[in-house]
């Protein structure tokens, strides 16, 4: 029987391709809807935005579908962690960057999420806590075991991770300007604190515990010579340092923009 979403399998891993129609639909439908909305609207959408949106959806598809999705669902904790990073640190920000303001405004209005988005944008602490609560809960061994063994559970986890990505980046790169946090310093500290400080706790647990934490990956048929503990240590390393290039590049961009604004502000007029 064909599965519509990646789920933990009980058979040994092979490189035999597995189709997941649900993942294809979840990847293609938003792109079609986006392009139709852009074509029908008289509001501007740049070529760069279109590329960013489609790029974000491609990353979403790559993270969800075979082989990474299958590996992350039931074989490797490190693949599970790589999926999380791709969703939250690559796919979600690219989708936000690719969404024009008028479209984001319309979506938030239709889904009645304007209030929530405004609160997250205004309160960096709230956004940071929300992101880390999702991170902590969805990486708890019991939750992983329950969710990854059913298609709906696995779909839910991937969906929640995308939501976590939007929550994380909303105060920094929200398409709706007024939902973005106005403080450059605040956004830099927020990105550092949210992704680098709290994540150290679960990442260290994964790296330094003597026995595997995740039952589902521990009892999965091994892939190659990678032991369950090595896989978990790798997951911890991915969690700890995987986000560094993206987060620090973003902090760097905000820093230079802030410095440039400050320079312009302090320059004598005339």
């Amino acid at each position: 029987m064909i599965s519509w979403w990646c789920v933990a399998l009980e058979e040994p891993w092979t490189w035999k391709w597995i189709p997941y129609p649900g993942i294809w639909a979840a990847s293609i439908v938003p792109i079609v809807a986006y392009l139709r909305a852009v074509a029908r609207s008289d509001q501007p959408t740049t070529r760069r935005q279109r590329a960013q949106f489609i790029g974000g959806m491609i990353v979403f598809w790559l993270a969800s579908d075979w082989p990474l999705g299958t590996l992350g669902a039931g074989y490797l904790a490190s693949a599970h962690m790589a999926q999380f990073l791709l969703y939250t640190h690559v796919a979600a920000p690219l989708i936000l960057l690719g969404t024009p303001e008028w479209m984001a405004d319309r979506i938030l209005g239709r889904l009645r999420l304007r209030g929530v988005a405004a609160r997250l944008g205004a309160s960096l602490i709230m956004a940071g806590v929300a992101y880390n609560v999702i991170l902590a809960v969805t990486h708890t061994p019991g939750v992983v075991s329950v969710l990854r063994t059913s298609q709906w559970g696995s779909f839910f986890m991937d969906f929640v991770w995308m939501v976590a990505g939007f929550v994380l980046w909303l105060p920094v790169i929200s398409p709706v300007r007024e939902l973005r946090n106005p403080s450059d310093i605040g956004r830099m500290l927020y990105l550092f604190g949210t992704t680098s400080v709290v994540a150290v706790i679960p990442a260290s647990l994964l790296t330094f515990t003597t026995t595997p934490l995740y039952e589902i990956y521990e009892l999965a048929p091994r892939i190659g010579t990678l032991t369950a503990r090595e896989d978990q240590q790798l997951a911890g390393i991915v969690m700890k340092i995987g986000s560094i290039p993206i987060i620090w590049s973003t902090i760097g961009v905000i820093w230079f923009r802030w410095a440039s604004k400050e320079q312009q502000r302090t320059q004598p007029v005339g």
Binding site: P12, L205, T211, L213, E218
Partner: protein, 201 residues
């Protein structure tokens, strides 16, 4: 904001509690037997072609006995990987232990196939084979259900006992370990079992 803080704290506590599983205890965490049973006595052939007298060769050692086959898709390789990975952390226990893997598929598991497969986990693991009659007698002596073939052709599977039998150095079986046994359980129990010597039993 207060509710948010409490929620965050609860989540953190929950995560830490969940991650702290596998706490060591003084008690066996495997499926303990109400009454320990003695080690079976059978003789099979090892991967070098020499006779292996199970009771004699494993005397005074912590012994893990398992009946399986190399074409097993899930249970056998995971069991052996779990034991091998636990041994990596318990080098002293591993030195004074012996893992005996008895094939229930002598047709496909030639001594060479068996050796090569076991070496992927740990070269110290002992592989045994024999005639179908000898293997059946060994399983009966160990008190596990006798394995049987399912399916035809080259792709058949073998229905076999899924538990590892753990004999302490005193020669008694104290606990069994079904599929799904975590490394935390192995880590705990192997250290306990290794301490049960004849004079203390």
């Amino acid at each position: 904001m207060r509710r948010l803080r409490i929620l965050s704290l609860l989540v953190l506590v929950g995560v830490l509690a969940a991650c702290g599983g596998g706490v060591s205890t003084d008690e066996l965490q495997g499926v303990a037997l109400a009454e320990p049973t003695p080690k079976p006595d059978f003789t099979l052939t090892d991967t070098d072609g020499n006779p292996f007298h199970f009771a004699e060769e494993t005397e005074g050692k912590l012994t893990l006995l398992y009946f399986g086959y190399t074409h097993c898709p899930d249970v056998c390789p995971v069991h052996l990987a779990q034991i091998a990975e636990t041994f990596d952390q318990l080098s002293q226990v591993a030195e004074s232990s012996v893992v005996v893997f008895v094939t229930v598929d002598p047709e496909r598991d030639t001594p060479e196939v068996l050796r090569e497969w076991l070496d992927r986990f740990d070269p110290r693991f002992v592989g045994l084979t024999g005639t179908p009659e000898e293997l059946e007698a060994a399983q009966t002596a160990a008190g596990v259900p006798v394995a049987f073939k399912v399916g035809e052709g080259d792709d058949y599977t073998v229905q076999h006992a899924g538990q590892v039998l753990a004999y302490a150095p005193d020669g008694l079986l104290y606990a069994q370990y079904p599929f799904g046994t975590r490394q935390s359980t192995w880590l705990n129990d192997l250290q306990i079992l290794a301490q049960i010597h004849p004079e203390e039993a």
